[in-house]
Amino acid sequence: MHPATEKLVNELNELPVAVAACDYAQRGYHYEVDVAADQVRALAECMLKHDMYLVFVGGLDVKPVPRVVYQFASYTHPGRFVVRAAVDENNMVPTISDIFQGASWHERETRDFFGIVFADHPYLKPLILAEEDVDLKPLLKTEEALKDISEVSWPAASDVSSKPEAKNKAEQG
């Protein structure tokens, strides 16, 4: 692990978030982070402090509540973070567009496609979709297609330390 990534992970562990190391060869990113909506801003500030850049913000419609997916990476060393934040009871997540200005468009797009509201976003107007399609929310799943978060995650997501190795062995055997 790169020392800069190690420092970041240590600092993330001080926040009330769940950080799990992943097998890069299998998933294409290094860390998976689960976070509650109210910790998103603290996490983004931590990422900014440690020289990460924002790759994208997107949505994921799952049961019981939709998730907002953030991805962070670094210009200087390998270390890719996938962050999943569950929306709160009002279908809201706080904006990070004042921390990472690049998030502004991504958040507007996620509002277009999923109807997730980014609290305190300065200009949450439709970006990609037309003004009149504000309630279209095209990427929301139908009742039948909607899956539980556990059905779209790698198995045994709770078992942090042994997961990638165990998974590989199971595949080989």
Partner: protein
Amino acid sequence: METAKEQAAQYTLEPATDIPKSNHYYLNMGPQHPSTHGVLRVLLEMDGEYVIKAQPVLGYGHRMHEKMAEHKNWMAFMPNTGRMDYAAALPFNHGYAALFERLCNIEVPERAEYIRVITSELNRLVSHHLWLGAFLLDLGAFTPILYTFDDREQVLDILEDITGSRLTYCYFRVGGVCKDIDDKFVERTRAYIKRQRERFKVYNELVTGNIIFLKRVEGVGIISPEMARRYGATGPVVRGSGIAYDIRKAEPYSVYDRFDFEIPTGTTGDSLDRYLVRLEEMEQSLRIIEQALEQLPDGPYLGKVPKKLKLPTGDANFAVEAARGELSYYLVSGGGDMPYRLKIRVPSYSNLSLLPELAQGMLIADLVAAMGSLDLVIPEIDR
């Protein structure tokens, strides 16, 4: 519907100067403006010839590729990937094919990886040819596009022979590529490399030292490394600002780790730096192709792939260096043969999102130069 004035008034960037509001007027640049390449509209609040606020308005070319990905099986979506960035479709093919190879543990024959690298780099050259000609055309120089398109045709002919198309390629398959390259291809590519090296001299004589060109781009549209990071800019934009970040080196995929090439960087992050970086990148692409042709192994060009691919449950990401920067496919799968969700992170999207901050206080003529130097492809942004 709001009027343009109301829309602009709600936009929250603070004006750069305290000019009395009464002098301001609003101007739509695009969606048919020749220098917005495609259908981008930029809503400008102007004071005389100075830009007070610039707000890009997107979505004119939106096709909802992400939704289509959820309703087609993994193979049927491949043609869509070539229709986002029409100027450099092969890296988009590459990322998508490699994503499934990663997720399903599919082995790709070595020859196929080499073919992918060679054709992707040729496609990068094509894309930079297009950008070079169009950028200089935006700046009022008509001649260079005639030269760059002449060279571009050479590469397009080579690619057409093996891929069957000239623009929206669908050449890669999960597990390899759909057609092998032959001796004729190798021979023509070698001849092209030789020719292109000669042509760089022409480009430099015609453009790089030209005083009119330098006056238009030097010190215009300066992006600091810190600003690039806040917006998530990648590719030649961030390299122009002096950060040597290239996915081909940072997270080597395919066989890129076997080649000796450099990441060109700029110093000030102005439009001239981005121009120089792209020009140098073309030379580096030639170097990669040369080495790949040298090392090209024999063998199959398409690996063994099951007819019905069953995706495991879970998520995976695959990042590649497209012609404009980092392209990431992030796939969430719930089993079956269709993605549950496919997020496509395109480079121009983040690169353009820094325009409002970049454009503040700029002359409108400089805005054309700055936007041209970002190398935008709008259908890629709108998806």
